[in-house]
């Protein structure tokens, strides 16, 4: 058995170079995983869904920074029996979304600040919260963190679980 350990030790020197993800794609892979995870900790008003098994849609507004990653992450997933689907949308062609991701630099469409929209708006940077967005990603010391605007969430008619809030970097009330 010591041979096994020895073998493992020897192999260390001759390892093939592993795949190194570019940092940009990793950042957005992680953000895509966050988006999926957010759906687990948000309660939408019952009227949001037409049926108990109607889909829960994550929309990406405009230029899509995720590529296929978000589709792969959403594939086969559901939250409370609502199948997760991903749509790319344009501001002038709104669709039914439960989560709306707005890439960096895009303004938050006014339709989603109206109350109660029942849409979880997720964007980038602190400005996004000031515009009335609910969750804003922030890069903090190399880590993807997020800030929450609780008032915007309640305006939208959404309830965020304490589990979600406990991980938030900061919470505006």
């Amino acid at each position: 058995m010591l041979l096994f350990l020895l073998a493992a030790a020897l192999v260390c020197d001759s390892l093939p170079a592993g795949f190194v993800a570019s940092s940009a794609s990793l950042e957005y892979n992680v953000k895509a995983a966050f988006l999926l995870n957010f759906t687990r900790f948000v309660d939408w008003p019952p009227a949001t869904f037409t049926g108990s098994d109607s889909p829960l849609t994550i929309c990406i507004l405009g230029d899509d920074p995720f590529g296929r990653a978000i589709d792969q992450i959403a594939e086969g997933e559901s939250t409370n029996r609502h199948k997760i689907t991903v749509e790319r949308i344009r501001a002038d062609q709104p669709k039914s979304c439960q989560v709306l991701y707005i890439p960096s630099g895009k303004p938050l469409p006014a339709a989603f600040i109206a109350t109660p929209s029942a849409v979880l708006t997720v964007g980038e940077g602190e400005d996004f919260l000031r515009q009335g967005g609910i969750i804003a990603f922030a890069l903090d010391n190399g880590h993807v963190r997020f800030d929450v605007n609780l008032k915007a969430a309640s305006n939208a008619g959404l309830k965020l679980s304490s589990k979600l809030l406990s991980v938030a970097r900061s919470i505006e009330r």
């Binding site: 993800a21 995870n37 792969q72």
Partner: protein
Amino acid sequence: MSVSEFARFACRRLSILALLVAIHPEVSRARLPDNDADDLVKLKKLSLEELSRIDVTTPSKEPESAFRSPFAIYVITSEDIHRSGATSIPEALRLAPGVEVERIDSNRWSIGIRGFGTRLTRSVLVLIDGREVYTTLFAGTYWEAQDTDMMDIDHIEVIRGPGGVIWGPNAVDGVINVITKSSKETQGLLVSALGGNMDLGSATIRYGGASGDFDYRVYAKAFADAHDYHSNGNNYDAWRSAQTGFRAEWSDGTRGTFTLQGDGYVEKAGEGAGAVSYTPPYSQNLFGYEYLSGVNILGRWQKAFSEGNDVQVQAYVDRTNHRELNLADYRTTYDVDYLQRIKPDKRDTISFGLGGRVVSIDDPIVVSGLTFTPIHRTDQLYTGFFQDEISLVPERLTLTVGTKLLHTNFAQFEPEPSARLAWTPTRTQTIWSAFTHAVRTPSDAEENFTLSGYVGQTPSGLQAFAAFLPNINFAPEQLNGYELGYRQLIGKTVLADFAGFFNHYHDLFDEELITDTFSESDAPPPLHLLLPAQFRNGLLGHTTGFEIAPEWRPTKFWRLRGSYSYLDLVLQKSPTSGDLGTAPSIEGGSPKHEVMAGSAFDVGGAIQLDFSYRYVSALGGLGIPAYSTADARIAWRLPNHLELSLNGQNLLQAHHVEYVADAGPNVGIDRSVYLRVTWTK
């Protein structure tokens, strides 16, 4: 003492100061990152908190926590348990390095960490979802009574070495934390059944549902195990058990999370037990059943105010009924714990907590040679702790200092201080060291217990007995532990984890003759001779050892793991000790060498192949020879959410002995083969 719920985070996040409030119990042990194709699948399984800890500026996607932990920690994941084919918590513990799991017969185990393993093991603290299942009756854990739906286990954390500040008392040589999944993660229906030559039959059903802020699950399981191998044909150790339980969680943004969970079980486990009486036949081995049953209910409230500021309150009631052939113990435990964490500045994270426990105990006499006085007792435990995690150099150097202070009806105020330093010079290396002082508090067995052992007939015709008398002066056992650890990620496919230790013990338990013999004249006839003895604190000594646990993922569908554990245990009598032979039986009661190797291989998405091998060196003090054996499993994922698996355990021989039997000849652990079907919807 269940600082537990807090504790589990503590160790899961690598520093004691981890989040008080769990996001959900996804595991982050120091594991190898996967290759990219799998990465998205892995990423989406991570919790919010783990996602927050991924450094997106480097290629390493390792959730850093366990990798940087200043503890010798190993996390057994639900997938590890599933793929091992383990049908009980003790069998699953074989996956962790440095843990000596010795099966005594079909329903009993000796589980020690870094030495001192016995039928109950006095020095390892065991918790299930924050509820302490270690009992102060004989000090230790009745493993045969610790069960849950194995598929509901999220992970088992095994801490090797003292966990004094957060856990304890009695977390001297290690801590075992069994953590079940949140009810959010066990939604839907699961039905599982298995049958084989040793696991005769087992069935589990679990249903999870949700409504708004409320999630719940309920489960029920039952099993029947066959007896193992008995050379004399006295096949006493068959085992039957039934258990049911639930878990429910309410969660909303303003009021925090409230969890309510509980279990109930009944079982009968075949046993052999020695019984001594002052009347003929004086000493005999009884064979029959141990009857165990219990009910527990636990409530927990957690709330996070902001990052680094949170609070938790937990309370539980646990009733256990325990009747063996030679003793009975009925106890109700009431336990309350309060924990808070605050982050006053960027550098410090301060945790503190208070806990109280009252245990109401009844130990009626079953055989005359084994009694507790008084029969009805109340035990108490009060604890407080304070700890500061200081970030000396952000992301590089962290010092954690703190102490626990405890008081029990068995011991005065005992401090348990600790200091741990973790240095991460690069993202692929962690070097840590620790000093911890930990205590094992006295138990009912030392302070309230009278035990007779039959010695024989004297030339004058009197029957002679050793009489162990209560020792109200039994002192806590003391440990000063020194640890050093090193973890290195090599490339992207090899992780090496090394932990070394030197533990210095004093005031250790021993069995001593205390005065001259006398004949007990006021006892009922026949007249007999007594050799008075006591459990005392007559031993001191040290353990030296290390564990090395490499893991290698040559491809994304193949994972290889190994571990080697070395232990040197040396005890000596203190000058005043009249030890009757405790030292050699403890020294020779733990294996010096343990080796484990395992392979988990996926053939496409539909077939899993698993193999594991283990070698355990001899237990010289107990006359148990070295053995090696192997397990194997093949599983098919079928359409319609069905999984079928064929599992083989202890395959290399028809039967082998791992530990000494309580009574009669040692029991051979049989080769076992079973088939399992699981359906989920």
